[in-house]
Symmetry: C2
Subunit: 163 residues, 2 copies
């Protein structure tokens, strides 16, 4: 995995999609949802954008990544998202890493690492498992500080509300 905010020749400037993902994460916080946002890009076009919506939708699977994968698949008309790149503000969990693999995502860009629940750099390190049959190229640490700050502020406010 490559770390840092590099420009990839095929995708142009990855900052812009991550900025959209961060906007989606801020939307989540405003709705009282854990602030994580994701977008899927193909050929420089945004195919899908979503915030985490588990509480709003009363759906344990409604992480931002799952929502954009489902939306992009619907738009393309195929469960395989060939040549699509996914940007998400937080390191994906096992559920989302599995879905990213099934969808054949080409490149995964994520913001903050997630030692507690991540499955890319942490825990099961899903994409390195022999049972993972498609791994995207992975770029971590893009928009890391802003993404982590959003999460920290959200949980700090929640703690304050509960005391």
């Amino acid at each position: 995995m490559k770390r840092g905010e590099q420009t990839h020749p095929m995708t142009g400037n990855p900052q812009k999609p991550m900025t959209l993902a961060l906007e989606a994460a801020r939307d989540a916080a405003r709705q009282g949802e854990v602030p994580v946002g994701a977008v899927i890009i193909r050929d420089g076009v945004v195919l899908a954008s979503a915030s985490n919506r588990t509480v709003t939708d009363q759906d344990p699977t409604a992480h931002a990544e799952i929502l954009v994968l489902r939306e992009a698949a619907r738009k393309i008309g195929s469960e395989r998202l060939i040549d699509c790149d996914l940007y998400v503000t937080l390191e994906p969990c096992a559920m989302c890493a599995g879905a990213i693999s099934f969808a054949r995502i080409r490149r995964l860009y994520f913001g903050a690492g997630d030692p507690k629940g991540g499955a890319v750099e942490h825990g099961p390190r899903f994409f390195s498992q022999p049972t993972c049959h498609h791994a995207p190229e992975i770029y971590g640490g893009l928009g890391e500080t802003e993404s982590a700050t959003l999460l920290k502020e959200f949980f700090k406010e929640r703690r304050n509300e509960n005391t």
Copy 2:
């Protein structure tokens, strides 16, 4: 994890829900989908039943487990499926294991093991990871032979169609 076709005192006879899951798996095969079926039970009542539908729905996340988790959450009106048990004919993958954990499923019963893509007994062994914050009680091998036979026959027929 406990193996074999035992009866659990709290759930009554687990054969019956697994029979329903196997029926759902047969439905999947008839639709040209990989034959996996799942049901969710609470207090002896079927809350949700589904077949794998990734091709039909053009949705990479539409595994039987994800579909029943979403349906049961919608019925209950909560993303946490307290006191619910999930029966599935094949060992869950990482995506589904993650979702089962988020949904707080109480007991997981599965049929055939899946050395190629499973994430319970194989690969990431998700429920044993420190990043897994809720693990169900797990009972493997329930309806194993019938489940495995369904899958073998399905892939054998597919190979025959392609030759």
